[in-house]
């Protein structure tokens, strides 16, 4: 569980985060949403201690990262997995080496043990055929899955994702959402995701924190989103005509959330889908 207490952050007298307090539960997918400039990224970077908060506390299961010594922070960081917006994979390493990196740096496992763990997570994110490829040789969706694999290989207690769906097609976004939800349940992680993707908000948002101008404007979950009274939140989430109609439809039918979204049929992976697409184009 991560507890945020009255978090404030200023840059050159401009207050970006204005006293945010909230709790992110273990084993749940927690989403942070908000318009560009609302302070989402600064909030996430404060949680990760990339930015030092101006005031307030961030407690990782009772341990305040703001007041920790360097050694304690280093130890805590080994419990954190992070997926960056641009994946941030190491260009000079293969997929397998990228995933193995946290194990190489922070464990004393033997080569065989590391290999076994890496192959296990590669299987978990469906990347079996990409082991020896470099990040530049694989698609954006596959890069995201490698980043997720790297983030989870060391069994993190906390998983942070900064816009994991950005730049991905809707289908691949769903694959990534499913994966993050499954991993959160399977590894019992406290998962915090910064997102702009309203599809993710309505399908995997077990807790949703809406930030506006550095203030916590609303918090809840996907089940109460459609019936929320906050106008700013509704304008933001249901900004497109399609989503507005969807909300009206849900309210008319007394349905509060989308419980399922389209999963690939026949367990078709993204790789095979891309392959099929290419074959169709060639034909």
């Amino acid at each position: 569980m991560i507890e945020v207490k009255d978090l404030r952050k200023s840059f050159n007298d401009v207050e970006v985060l204005k006293g945010i307090s909230t709790t992110f539960d273990t084993g749940k997918v927690n989403l942070v949403i908000g318009q560009s400039g609302s302070g989402k990224t600064v909030f996430l970077k404060c949680l990760l201690n990339v930015y030092e908060p101006s005031s307030g506390g961030i407690l990782f299961d009772g341990r305040d990262i703001v007041r920790m010594s360097r050694e304690e922070k280093q130890a805590l960081r080994a419990e954190i997995g992070t997926v960056f917006q641009g994946s941030a994979l190491f260009d000079s390493m293969t997929v397998e080496e990228n995933i193995s990196f946290p194990l190489d740096m922070f464990t004393n496992l033997t080569y065989r043990e590391k290999k076994r763990k890496v192959l296990e997570v590669i299987g978990r994110v469906n990347l079996q055929n990409a082991n020896k490829k470099f990040p530049s040789e694989i698609s954006g969706g596959m890069q995201k899955r490698v980043a997720i694999a790297r983030a989870i290989v060391n069994n993190p207690k906390y998983l942070f994702c900064d816009e994991p769906n950005s730049g991905l097609d809707p289908y691949t976004s769903n694959v990534i959402d499913d994966l993050l939800l499954e991993i959160t349940k399977e590894y019992n992680t406290t998962t915090i995701i910064n997102t702009h993707d309203m599809n993710s908000v309505m399908t995997i948002g077990e807790k949703i924190l809406y930030l506006r101008l550095g203030i916590k404007e609303w918090e809840g979950n996907k089940d109460i989103l459609a019936t929320a009274k906050n106008k700013n939140l509704l304008d933001f989430v249901y900004s497109s005509e399609l989503f507005k109609q969807l909300r009206e439809f849900m309210l008319e039918n007394e349905q509060t959330s989308l419980t399922h979204h389209n999963k690939p049929e026949n367990n078709e992976t993204e790789d095979s889908r891309i392959q099929n697409k290419k074959s169709n184009e060639n034909e």
């Binding site: 922070k73 917006q85 260009d91």
Partner: protein, 236 residues
């Protein structure tokens, strides 16, 4: 940043792997350029020595062409000019590779994982440069002298025997130490200054390009100023 970079590596195995890769990227990949440049400059230096000695008002034996070429290469050309050339080639590589890692959040990823990123990225480059550049300079000296030898054969201006006699003439051994000491200091500058510019890039690909150019310029300036200081300190 330098303090963090020069601290003890977190994982020895990972560090050794990185070091081997840097030996290849920074050192082995520079062989061709060093060989090519040294050969031709050695030849040019020898030809210019011949022209100047011929124009002299008093006779200078042809064997001095070999001696002068050797001393010029050891004292100045190989350590300084090759280091300036490496500042361009290796410096731009270091600044742009680290800069790209910065703008693509790879360095943030290292920091968040708890990796000492300056140490991880910069220390192997410093060690590889300081160990490998003296080797490149030694090769440059040998190839430059050979270039002068080939120039004599090609032009017919001096005989092989004269040139070899000149090469065998006495030269103080500390000239060699001076050359290698200079090279090691320059290698440190070549690894650290571009790393600093690359590590502190803010922005996108345009800024990476700018940082790379700035890094090369400042490294070259530093090498030349340091050359003056070391020459004054060690040879005066």
């Amino acid at each position: 940043m330098l303090g963090k970079a020069l601290s003890k590596p977190q994982k020895r195995n990972v560090y050794l792997k990185l070091l081997v890769r840097e030996f290849y990227d920074l050192g082995v990949n520079s062989f061709g350029l060093v060989l090519f440049t040294s050969f031709f400059v050695g030849a040019v230096v020898a030809i210019q020595m011949f022209n100047n000695f011929s124009a002299s008002s008093f006779p200078i034996p042809n064997s001095f062409i070999g001696y002068a070429t050797k001393v010029v290469l050891i004292l100045e050309f190989s350590p300084t000019i090759i280091s300036v050339i490496l500042a361009g080639k290796v410096g731009s590589y270091i600044a742009s590779s680290i800069g790209t890692m910065r703008v693509t959040e790879q360095i943030d990823a290292l920091d968040i994982m708890g990796v000492n990123s300056p140490n991880f990225l910069i220390l192997p480059k410093i060690v590889a440069s300081v160990i490998f550049n003296p080797l490149l300079i030694a090769i440059s000296i040998v190839v430059g002298i050979w270039g002068g030898y080939v120039a004599g054969i090609a032009t017919g201006n001096w005989t092989k025997a004269d040139y070899i006699t000149g090469i065998q003439m006495y030269m103080p051994s500390y000239f060699i130490w001076y050359a290698f000491l200079k090279t090691a200091v320059f290698a440190f500058l070549i690894a650290t200054i571009p790393a600093y510019f690359g590590y502190n890039v803010k922005g996108g690909s345009l800024e990476v390009g700018r940082a790379s150019t700035q890094a090369v310029v400042w490294t070259m300036i530093s090498v030349i100023i340091m050359d003056l200081l070391l020459t004054q300190m060690l040879l005066s």
